[in-house]
């Protein structure tokens, strides 16, 4: 068994109201920044899976993403190997 690390990115689906993204975009004006648009706010989840190989580990991460980390009705997600943790 080895530990495989993944990052799951969860974003509001296109066309779904993203009030957080809209609020952040609205706040940019206070920073004297112009030309920034299409701000969207999602969620990043990092996790480690103990499994025999990378494929088995990824299957677990994909299942977690679809059944818990994202709500498929309103969110899209992507599972990727975690190369560099943010911290």
């Amino acid at each position: 068994m080895s530990a495989y690390r993944f990052v799951v990115s969860v974003m509001p689906r296109a066309g779904i109201l993203d009030p957080q993204g809209r609020a952040v975009e609205g706040g940019l004006g206070h920073l004297d920044v112009s030309g920034v648009h299409d701000v969207r706010v999602g969620r990043r989840v990092e996790l480690a899976v103990d499994a025999a190989d990378a494929g088995a580990a990824r299957a677990v991460a994909e299942r977690l993403a679809a059944e818990l980390l994202a709500n498929p009705l309103i969110e899209a997600w992507r599972v990727e190997p975690l190369e560099e943790p943010v911290v």
């Binding site: 109201l17 009030p19 957080q20 818990l68 980390l69 709500n71 009705l73 309103i74």
Partner: protein
Amino acid sequence: MKVGVIVFPGSNCDRDALHAARLAGAEAVALWHERPDLQGAELVILPGGFAHGDYLRAGALARFSPVMAAVREHAEQGGLVLGICNGFQVLTEARLLPGALLRNASLRFEHRWVRLAVTRHDTPFSAAIPAGTMLRLPVAHGEGCYVLPDPELDALEARGRVLFRYALPEGNPNGSLRDVAGVLSENGRVCGLMPHPERAVEPLLGSDDGLLLFRSLVAGAARMAA
């Protein structure tokens, strides 16, 4: 009628729901979320609050509480289930009701009185509400913006499954599509709504319109038993 009110860690309207059910004439018991046992309840209420802290998404973790398997089985067998506010969020996350509840369009926690139109009176949740009555109930939520893809929402409306809508003069508090405030399951036995009927059961509270919903359920059960 026996009513069971589920208590999740973070529920905070469970006692109000027990009180409302008793006022309407039911026997009411609290059900701890870790026990997959409904203790014979004919109506199960998922109350308002912040189950499991609302981490990840409101209702997303509560859906995996052991009691939810029993709730699902109860609903599938035609048992009555009512989800109020956070309870509605849990029921959508558990896919016992369609749609999802997003952050309010205002980005604010909305707590105020609203007016609800009742679209039909032939359901266990609305039978005792006189036709034409607009219910005056409070809302108190941060994530109450109801969404469902257009074709599915069309189908829901066509089948009479939008039971409550926000109405003027106060209007829609959260940006819900087509002013949806409460919906029914396909078999009509599961209902979820964002406003709080259990907080409006005595004139002292500002309204007792919420009692009509609880009376509908209790009177319906009494008729079935007779």
